[in-house]
């Protein structure tokens, strides 16, 4: 008795590829000679392979070569923008960026204008400190501030800047910083 159908099916693909040793091949061929089912599977499988090998199966669509040729001719340009989708995505992004950029620019201008309005000298303030300065009466450190400084707290006392310096007060590094003090001192 030779091999059974299952063994044939296990080896049938290798048989078609001529990957079996001569002994196995003879065993399969003997089986095909007496088993119509397996002969049918072999014929059908070989037929399937031949159909798929045919150039017409899974062939590129009509015009493929011409379109490819056209794209190759576009050369470098085409490789920068590799697909129609990418081009579309790029164009949409660019279109969206224009109003967005304009909006950001406008917003920035509005904010800057407001800041300038609040502080006409601009920032950082380099104008000399003149007139009244403020001190916190109950503060331990002897520091004088420009009115409005966040470090002012408690009961405030206002005095001319010259007097504050004379009394040993030093300028607040936050609100006065490197602003010049009056030359008189």
């Amino acid at each position: 008795m030779g091999i059974d159908c299952q063994e044939v099916w296990r080896d049938i693909s290798d048989y078609i590829d001529d990957e079996l040793d001569p002994k196995q091949r003879t065993a399969l061929e003997e089986h095909f000679a007496r088993c119509r089912q397996c002969a049918s599977v072999l014929e059908g499988t070989c037929n399937v392979i031949r159909l798929y090998r045919d150039e017409r199966t899974l062939a590129p669509p009509r015009g493929f070569h011409e379109r490819l040729h056209q794209r190759l001719n576009q050369g470098a340009k085409a490789s920068i923008h590799p697909s129609r989708r990418a081009v579309l995505a790029w164009a949409l992004s660019a279109a969206a960026a224009v109003p967005l950029g304009f909006a950001l620019y406008s917003a920035r201008r509005i904010v800057l204008l407001r800041l300038e309005h609040q502080n006409p000298a601009g920032s950082p303030d380099s104008s000399p400190v003149t007139g009244l300065v403020a001190i916190s009466e109950n503060a331990e450190e002897k520091v004088f501030h420009v009115p409005g400084c966040p470090y002012l707290h408690g009961k405030l006392k206002f005095l001319p800047v010259e007097e504050a310096i004379r009394e040993g007060y030093s300028p607040c590094p936050v609100c006065i910083g490197k602003r010049k003090l009056q030359k008189k001192i």
């Binding site: 088993c35 062939a59 040729h69």
Partner: protein, 251 residues
């Protein structure tokens, strides 16, 4: 079209001598095909070495000639992986443009066709990642969709293959049958049986062993045969010898 793939009911009327004759002829013709394929590959390889040299020296117009034999190979691989003709064409163009741009990186010890397929597979994976197409396909029972099997005289089949492919519905049926397989079967089958790579080349492209290629190939071929010849699994009309077998051939 069922008669094309060999029908068991038609076979019941045949005697074993006829079966043996056809089997021997089938096998002989497939191996003869292989010999022709190898001879053709050798011819192509000899000319492409010259072409690549000239292209790299600046004759870029020759690139069209270089890739002409591989257009179907690249397209078939991509349409099999992506499932859409439009995407397959789009990615095919990208693959071939990339091949032109990277031609200087092509190492000549491998075949140019295999190198192209590797680029194609990588591009297809990237496109699928973008489109999240990974699980679009699954194995379904194609035999059920094909309806009733109408046996024809078995002697017809020899004439049918080349003529049948002129009909678009036959080409569609072949593409659809392939799309029913799981991707690793589909891809192995396409590389080996559509693109005509050797088992070793297929193994190299997929990064798997030759044994794994053979296993996938066996299953893919038998599944396709079964999908395309639904009459094989129909009860009632098949012979007793086949009925005894509970397992499918690819199991």
């Amino acid at each position: 079209m069922n008669a094309i793939f060999g029908g068991t009911t038609a076979l019941a009327d045949r005697d074993s001598r006829e079966s043996e004759f056809i089997e021997t002829r089938m096998y002989a013709s497939i191996t003869a095909d292989d010999a022709k394929i190898n001879a053709r590959k050798e011819r192509i390889r000899a000319t492409e070495q010259v072409l690549i040299g000239r292209i790299l020296k600046g004759e870029k117009d020759l690139f069209v000639e270089l890739i002409r034999p591989y257009q179907r190979t690249v397209y078939a691989t991509l349409v099999t992986m992506l499932g859409s003709k439009e995407d397959a064409e789009d990615v095919s163009q990208e693959v071939l443009l990339k091949a032109l741009a990277r031609l200087d990186q092509f190492r000549r010890e491998s075949a140019f066709g295999t190198w192209l397929i590797q680029i194609a597979i990588n591009e297809a994976k990237m496109r699928k990642r973008k489109l999240r197409l990974g699980k679009m396909f699954s194995l379904t029972n194609g035999a059920e969709q094909d309806g009733a099997y109408v046996p024809k005289d078995f002697a017809d089949w020899r004439e049918i293959p080349s003529e049948a492919l002129e009909r678009s519905e036959i080409r569609e049926a072949l593409a659809n049958a392939l799309s029913l397989l799981e991707e690793h079967y589909r891809l192995t089958f396409v590389l080996r049986d559509v693109n005509e790579l050797s088992i070793e080349e297929t193994a190299n492209v997929l990064g798997i062993s030759c044994g794994a290629v053979k296993t996938r190939l066996r299953r893919a071929r038998l599944m396709l045969r079964d999908i395309l010849a639904p009459g094989l699994c129909q009860g009632g009309e098949v012979s007793l010898a086949f009925k005894k077998e509970v397992r499918k051939p690819w199991e």
